[in-house]
Symmetry: C2
Subunit: 354 residues, 2 copies
């Protein structure tokens, strides 16, 4: 999607190089991952994030393990469990590692096969992302026709763009496609506290792509929806159960409630690899990651000299708590936009995908 | 409530001195207001904020005008319109200025009467706040009895403590009363972007009062409510219509939706002076203040050397939009806690208060 980067690539030394998403939009830095442990760390410290890219880095992480322990299948498989456990909520991570392990188990040329499989996972994501964009944009055009709209306002939470799933994301893919089709589109970008993936990453992507957008505090979406300033809400997901409940960035549930209350369509865009057919009741069954409270206390930005700075925004003696995700029940979801088409958030429909 | 300050007082020179709430919790600074224009500025730049304290500073602002233009009633009344227009949403502001103007119109000793009336408005707030605290705490005890709770988790948004209404606030008054009664209470403090009144002011107040609390991103409340970690939501209000719709800090509506969805009681605590009997449909009729987009872009905190710093957290070319309030419809409100008792958010009940 972007002119300069993918979020990850094999560099000229054969190492995995990634865009360090912790420093965007203020600094464009990359980080080189040489070992499986490097991949685990990059996922858990959120150098990379977003369900798809986590899966991609995990897959290449298993390839890096294959490079470290070339002739020791057992060791590679054993070590890959660390990558698999680097974050708990996004199911693409487990899916990607399991797929890599399966290939390695049956391989006679581990290094070659692992590399090929990791590249294949990425290539598949590119196609998924493209298809999701087209299907999502068809929905946008359909709403515009029915409501006779000249322009379209879409609200998104967190970042589900090409930084999250190559090459154009899930939730942002229909937006990029709309831009391509010449639709007059404007995006309300939820800041997405505490890590500000909206204010930092989605805004950066949209600026780069020349998509008209406005950053809002996470508190603002309800007011906009009450005043007919939002035509659609779309987000990605980190895990969707077979019953259609969707774990996504904390705060998504609040936007879904508000969309429902104001009769605004609320869509989740996801690749099929994000489905978790094992679970049904997402609120009860999906493990929600708790991250460091410092992500609430400390904010990153640039000072008046343009120098990156971390500041503490809370009193030093106050505690904070930091849940990474919440679960939006299926009853609040208008539809699931996947590479296999638009699907109802309903067990009978989702089961057919298995 | 607090050991050190009220949010405003007449200092030894007879000027109005206020705690400058823009710098809390990192710096405890005060600001001296000598003229009506100083009061207008302090309200509009949010040196002081919170419906009650805005009303108090407005009342003393009219007194400062009386000091400036002692024998010119017309000029005082004319200038007081500037104070009245310093912010659009909190109705206490208009109420307090109108009351001061009425006193001045009928006064033969303007300076003395204006001072006495401003002090009286403050003294009344102290009593209102105390009564609201007792009534609210009775509700807490009632819920604890019915649900057989040993401890109580309450979620609040923005700041409606003694920094907002002297001497113990509206939404925080029942919490301070609960602490006094020995109830094991814990407060979830919504950060309240973009100005962080929760993370900056409510946390600072609760630390000072020794009340157990945890700061959360505004996105987090829905998840906590889904997991039975919240027993009650309580907020203040800036304006409540005669039909029970409540304008309060942006984001309040999202928490009310989530409370409803999870069968959690959602209360608004307010003095009677916050009712606006002229309006009914809050979403349509209440003017919502739009503030500078810089409040979204720029964050204040302290750097690693303890020095206060402003940093920009968004890309420099991205726009933002900043609505100060949203409206929670009456249907989502369990009850209104006022100094006249607990009242249903219903036109027939509210009309009786007029």
């Amino acid at each position: 999607m972007n002119g300069k980067y993918r979020p990850l690539w094999l560099n000229k030394n054969g190492d995995l190089e990634v865009l360090d998403q912790r420093y965007l939009p203020h600094e464009e830095l990359t980080r080189v991952l040489k070992t499986g442990d490097d991949a685990t760390e990059a996922i858990s410290d959120m150098t990379v994030r977003g369900a798809g890219v986590i899966g991609n880095v995990a897959a290449f992480g298993v390839y890096l393990l294959a490079r470290e322990f070339e002739n020791n299948k057992d060791k590679i498989i054993q070590e890959s469990a660390k990558i698999r456990a680097s974050r708990p909520t996004a199911v693409n991570l487990m899916w990607a590692v399991d797929r890599m392990v399966e290939v390695i188990k049956n391989s006679n040329d581990i290094l070659k096969d692992a590399k090929a499989e990791a590249i294949k996972i990425c290539d598949e994501d590119v196609k998924r992302s493209e298809t999701i964009g087209k299907i999502g944009c068809d929905i946008i055009e359909d709403i515009m026709r029915k409501k006779n709209l000249k322009n379209f306002n879409i609200l998104t939470h967190c970042n589900a763009g090409w930084l999250a799933i190559i090459d154009s994301g899930t939730a942002l893919a229909p937006i990029y496609e709309a831009k391509k089709r010449g639709i007059d589109i404007h995006v309300w970008v939820d800041e997405t506290r505490p890590r500000n993936q909206g204010a930092n990453l989605t805004s950066w992507e949209l600026l780069d792509a020349g998509v008209n957008h406005t950053i809002i505090a996470d508190n603002t979406g309800g007011h906009l929806m009450q005043h007919e300033m939002v035509d659609m809400v779309i987000t990605g997901a980190d895990r969707v159960t077979r019953c259609g409940d969707a774990a996504n960035k904390i705060g998504t549930y609040l936007k879904a409630l508000s969309a429902k209350d104001n009769n605004i369509p609320f869509y989740i865009a996801l690749p099929l690899s994000t489905f978790d057919f094992e679970s049904c009741d997402g609120v009860k069954e999906i493990e929600i990651e708790m991250r460091s409270e410092d992500e609430v206390h400390i904010m990153r930005g640039i000072d008046s000299n343009g120098k990156p700075q971390d500041i503490r925004i809370t009193p030093k003696d106050s505690k904070a708590i930091n849940y990474g995700f919440d679960v939006t029940p299926a009853r609040l979801i208008t539809g699931l936009i996947t590479e296999a088409g638009l699907i109802e958030a309903d067990e009978n429909e989702i089961k057919k995908l298995k």
